[in-house]
């Protein structure tokens, strides 16, 4: 069984136009990953080809970009993402994503637990601790897209507001005061929570990027808002929100050489 060939209940075909089979996006599965199938599905709906990657396999099988999906890798033992960081696949991802010489280092997106893994792997600054109110959050969350220069956000407009689901317990983003000042000054906050701070995150930060802009991490789940009927409620109707899809069409478009 692979993530690529198991249809969900209520499955229906993705839009036929603009299928860019050239863009191959790897989706990593660790023990305890939950959202790999949703992420793979989002890639396909965006016109890309989803390639399942396995934590114990060092090869990235020639993919053009990688998604670390959400879940509870290794049961969140030690700290969320702390054990997954040492998986063989991460060695290759870290080296290709941080290749300073490369003209275009590997685009990597970490969602929720994937974001936590990217901070533990030192690809992104900061860390996540328990939500300040200690409760598990499960709700739709409005975010502002503040950086559209990354391959994952290129098709958003600056300061666009999007609504995507959010579900986590360790979602409070913390970072040293000096680093916080630096990522703010460099415009590396990619997503910010709009309205009340849902978890105590510093400066309402929901997602950040690295200095090169190829690695992006965010706590909420864009892959759960890619298909009408299964997304957040919006102005057009119940569960009609598909704001998350733009993240996946952005990377597919960036890899195809355009926007």
């Amino acid at each position: 069984m692979t993530a690529a060939d198991t249809p969900l209940i209520g499955d229906f075909p993705s839009p036929a136009e603009a299928r860019l089979d050239g863009a191959r996006i790897g989706v990593v599965t660790f023990p305890g990953t939950l959202d790999d199938r949703d992420a793979a599905r989002a890639v396909r709906l965006a016109g890309g080809t989803a390639v399942p990657l396995w934590h114990a396999d060092q090869s990235l099988h020639g993919v053009d970009a990688v998604i670390l999906p959400g879940g509870f890798s290794y049961g969140d033992y030690l700290r969320a993402g702390a054990i997954a960081r040492f998986a063989p696949v991460m060695t290759t991802i870290v080296s290709e994503a941080s290749a300073q010489q490369a003209e275009s280092p590997l685009p990597v997106l970490g969602i929720c637990n994937g974001f936590q893994i990217l901070t533990e792997a030192h690809l992104l600054p900061g860390s996540m601790i328990k939500n300040d109110h200690l409760k598990f959050i499960c709700k739709d969350q409005v975010l502002r897209v503040e950086n559209t220069a990354t391959p994952w956000t290129a098709q958003f407009t600056q300061d666009e507001l999007i609504a995507v689901p959010m579900k986590n317990q360790d979602g409070q983003y913390v970072v040293s005061a000096a680093e916080l000042e630096q990522i703010e000054a460099e415009g590396r906050v990619v997503f910010r929570y709009v309205g009340e701070n849902p978890n105590g995150s510093r400066n309402h930060i929901a997602g950040v990027t690295n200095p090169r802009g190829n690695v992006v991490g965010l706590m909420p789940h864009p892959e759960h808002a890619v298909e009408a009927g299964y997304g957040p409620d919006d102005a057009t109707g119940m569960r009609s929100g598909t704001d998350g899809l733009t993240i996946f069409t952005s990377v597919v478009g960036s890899l195809a050489g355009g926007k």
């Binding site: 702390a82 601790i129 328990k130 200690l134 913390v174 105590g200």
Partner: protein, 85 residues
């Protein structure tokens, strides 16, 4: 068999939500007189044989690089405990 004990605590400047929740719950059971709680972690690393300087140095490195996350936590002690048995 000797054990190396590593203790890790959240950094003082990081609000510890778990500790705060425990502090709030203590009075409900009649435990008054505690003004705050901070919750950390204790790791016990078993060693087959003697704890040499080399083994201890390796434990210190593990404590810094894996058992703690320097962004949010401090390693407060790495010590050796001899098992009485």
């Amino acid at each position: 068999m000797p054990t190396i004990v590593v203790e890790v605590m959240p950094k003082p400047e990081i609000l510890d939500p778990q500790g705060k929740a425990i502090a709030n719950a203590l009075p409900h059971l009649g435990f008054t007189g505690f003004s705050g709680v901070r919750q950390g972690k204790r790791f016990e690393l078993s060693v087959d044989g003697e704890v040499t300087e080399e083994v201890l140095a390796s434990a210190r490195r593990a404590a810094e690089e894996m058992l703690s996350n320097p962004v949010i936590e401090d390693v407060v002690s790495v010590s050796v405990e001899q098992d009485a048995a």
